[in-house]
């Protein structure tokens, strides 16, 4: 009986073109399409313009240092700041370095000349890269001068090289060690893609269904159960595909123990399927499913905490975001799979997802059993 209904539900899903486009087309397409912008991982070799008002061996050495950094390459030397500005406007360069007149002389006289560095801050990642590269070149020049001075003062080279700064910072990026973009975006956004395609598909199926209200509890329970099992099994597999083959292909770390991962996936899919069924019941027509799912994606992505710190979200935004399964799921999965947390450390997210699953299921059952004359 149950198996028969389940078979019908699967038939429904796999014969509905719109649902197929969403579930299989969407999930497979995004696995290829979404990583596209980030395949290069880091923006390197940004073009910069140099305004060399000194034109001495020292200034040329600084320019060589800048050119030698992986972050920037010197695309042009221009005579004035306004020329550099127009190159920036044309998009030919992303930043500039201005070496003042008497740079070499001031360096020799210990007057600590000031190098002007500027970058286009309309694009933060470019700005950061340009400044990192240029500041590094300036620092190398400074270090070299220091080492030379120390040696002149009689300090042996081996000490001078170490001693040019009294204290050092040893930076250790953790988890996404290369600080690349794929490892940052994909693990989180793939979870959102799974949730959104699932919501869309359940919306399309649910909106079509004639039995939305006025059902007996056992009938409602059976419809709910069948739909739940069908969607759950499809998405349990698709999640495995994303977190297995796709992560492997894109070189994303998979630190979680498989059992922990399954536990988390189960809670995440359960919450999403329950929300999807509820969504389908509330939708007046299936054409509204895609617009609502699409416009909700941006707010969901930016409140999940992997881009913008959740500590800084205003209270109402925080409150709304806790109703999206993706919020807890993204945090839980990132901690388990990327940051190597123990399952006990993500229990709050796990229980949060089950609470959502329970709440959305209950609401769906109430809606289905409520007797209204609004049902078609």
């Amino acid at each position: 009986m149950f198996l028969n209904r389940l078979k019908n539900e699967f038939l429904n899903i796999f014969t509905d073109k719109a649902v197929l486009i969403t579930v299989l087309g969407g999930v497979l397409l995004y696995a290829v399409l979404y990583p596209q912008p980030y395949l290069n991982q880091l923006p390197l070799q940004q073009a910069i313009a140099v305004v060399d008002q000194d034109n001495t061996p020292a200034s040329r050495r600084l320019i060589r240092y800048a050119d030698a950094t992986p972050q920037v390459h010197v695309a042009g030397r221009v005579g004035s700041i306004s020329e550099a500005r127009s190159l920036l406007l044309d998009g030919q360069v992303r930043g500039m370095m201005i070496i003042p007149r008497h740079f070499e002389r001031d360096l020799g006289l210990s007057r600590s000349p000031v190098i002007g560095l500027a970058g286009d801050a309309n694009f933060f990642l470019i700005y950061g890269t340009v400044i990192e590269g240029l500041a590094g070149a300036v620092m190398s020049t400074g270090a070299m001068v220091r080492v030379r001075e120390l040696m002149l003062a009689g300090v042996p080279l081996s000490f001078a090289v170490k001693d040019w700064s009294p204290i050092h910072l040893n930076e250790r990026p953790l988890f996404n060690v290369g600080m690349g973009y794929l490892g940052y975006v994909l693990p989180a956004i793939f979870i959102l893609i799974l949730q959104q395609t699932l919501l869309l598909a359940s919306g399309l199926i649910g909106a079509e269904s004639g039995e939305k209200s006025g059902l007996s509890l056992s009938r409602a329970g059976s419809i709910f159960g069948v739909r739940f099992v069908a969607m759950f099994s499809i998405y349990f597999l698709l999640t495995q595909f994303y977190m297995g083959a796709c992560f492997e292909f894109y070189g994303i770390s998979r630190n979680a123990h498989i059992v922990d991962l399954w536990l988390m996936i189960t809670a995440f899919i359960a919450a999403s399927v329950a929300l999807g069924i509820l969504f389908g019941l509330l939708l007046p027509g299936r054409e509204l499913a895609a617009p609502l799912v699409m416009v909700s994606s941006l707010p969901m992505a930016f409140t999940a905490g992997f881009i913008w710190p959740r500590e800084l979200l205003p209270e109402p935004v925080l409150w709304i975001s806790q109703w999206f399964p993706s919020t807890s799921a993204i945090q839980g999965f990132l901690k388990l799979n990327q940051m190597g947390a123990e399952f006990s450390q993500v229990l709050n997210h796990w229980w949060g997802l089950w609470a959502l699953a329970g709440f959305f299921s209950l609401l769906s059952l109430i809606l289905m059993t409520r007797s209204t004359h609004a049902g078609r």
Binding site: P43, N122, I167, L169, R172, L298, F306
Partner: protein, 374 residues
């Protein structure tokens, strides 16, 4: 006028279309704006392991806490404890002050302070990293000046010795590196792309549509008349949202209405054409919306605001060029920050005119469908 009125009546009869056209755009825009209301990542929780417990190590701790980007929320007695809280995301970074820091500095052994930070959250990691580097520089100069003053008792000269070259950094066009002014315009462009494409498909596919002419020219006029309302409403939405950001909130800008208006209207029309194109692919609202969703849902990622377009793969750049929002944003940024001359704003406008090639495609598909039906 007549066309506007009849279409408006049609929208008002559909509660959900009404929402998508009139009140969801401002509500969603405000929500996105609210997310970034802090402007900059500030007071990010970090932990400290102080293995030295000297006046110098306490100074380091004070400097960390004084940095606007950081907020020391935890003190640990061992690294292991702190690391657990990092993988728990309770703290975003762990600063380890080594034992004998003070002694090593005195001896000139250049000790290293270690900072472990969570690079999974890239934006946060970058904010923490630059705060740490700033503190490192301040500390280094301060310690060094103290050392040099012994030999060169003139502060200015001592300063010059510790920093032979200085650099002054300017963040052009976004002076205080505000994330809201950086991200929100692009988010709105992506949001409006989705809204306009969806509304176009919904409105073209309404069941109560009257018969249209089968002569291509008349049909084109008819379709244009029916789309006019949405062109107007969405252009006004975008204008109002920009007026709120750059007027009411007083974000810095170099915008002028004259330069902006053609850009906005062309952007809206280009999105409408994309929507119409997706509609005529299937003549089925639901399936067209699924296709349109597949195309435009990742719009934001391709816009190239977070990850620069120039560093994308060739395919990603091609895909980006298919998005009206990418060209709109190019033109918008030219105007908002560069105060670029007409020549610079003209190019994105001309590029968006290319979307007009979709007009004959849409019209002829409609004609075919009419002929088929009749």
């Amino acid at each position: 006028m007549q066309a506007l009125k009849s279409e408006l009546a049609a929208v008002r009869s559909d509660r959900w279309l009404l929402a998508l056209v009139f009140w969801l755009p401002p509500v969603l825009s405000l929500f996105l704006l609210l997310i970034f209301s802090a402007g900059q990542p500030l007071n990010l929780p970090v932990g400290v392991v102080d293995l030295d417990q000297s006046s110098l190590s306490r100074k380091v701790t004070r400097y960390l806490d004084a940095s606007p980007a950081l907020n020391i929320t935890r003190h640990y007695s061992s690294i292991a404890q702190g690391k657990e809280d990092i993988s728990d995301a309770d703290i975003y970074a762990l600063v380890v002050i080594p034992a004998n820091l003070s002694r090593d500095v005195m001896r000139g052994e250049a000790p290293a302070i270690s900072a472990f930070f969570n690079a999974q959250y890239l934006l946060i990691a970058k904010a923490i990293r630059s705060a740490l580097i700033e503190i490192e520089t301040t500390l280094a100069v301060e310690l060094d000046v103290g050392r040099t003053l012994v030999h060169t008792p003139v502060i200015k000269a001592a300063l010059a010795t510790s920093m032979p070259v200085r650099s002054q950094m300017s963040a052009l066009y976004n002076l205080n590196l505000n994330y809201a002014t950086f991200l929100v315009p692009a988010l709105l462009a992506a949001l409006f792309t989705l809204l306009i494409i969806c509304v176009t498909i919904l409105s073209l596919g309404k069941k109560d549509k009257h018969r249209v002419s089968s002569r291509p020219a008349k049909l084109a006029v008819e379709l244009a008349r029916r789309s006019l309302l949405y062109t107007c409403v969405f252009s006004i939405h975008i204008l109002l949202s920009l007026a709120f950001l750059y007027g009411t909130l007083d974000w810095p800008h170099q915008l002028s209405l004259g330069g902006l208006l053609p850009l906005i209207i062309l952007f809206v029309m280009a999105c409408q054409l994309m929507g119409a194109f997706f509609y005529v692919l299937t003549f089925d609202r639901v399936r067209s919306l699924s296709l349109a969703g597949a195309f435009s849902a990742p719009a934001f990622a391709f816009l190239g605001v977070t990850f620069p377009a120039s560093d994308m793969t060739v395919f990603a750049q091609f895909w980006r060029d298919l998005m009206p929002a990418a060209h709109y944003l190019n033109g918008f940024l030219n105007q908002v920050s560069y105060a670029a001359g007409a020549a610079h704003s003209l190019q994105p406008i001309l590029v968006m005119l290319v979307f007009a090639v979709l007009i004959p495609v849409v019209v002829y598909r409609f004609k075919d469908q009419q002929d088929g039906a009749g």
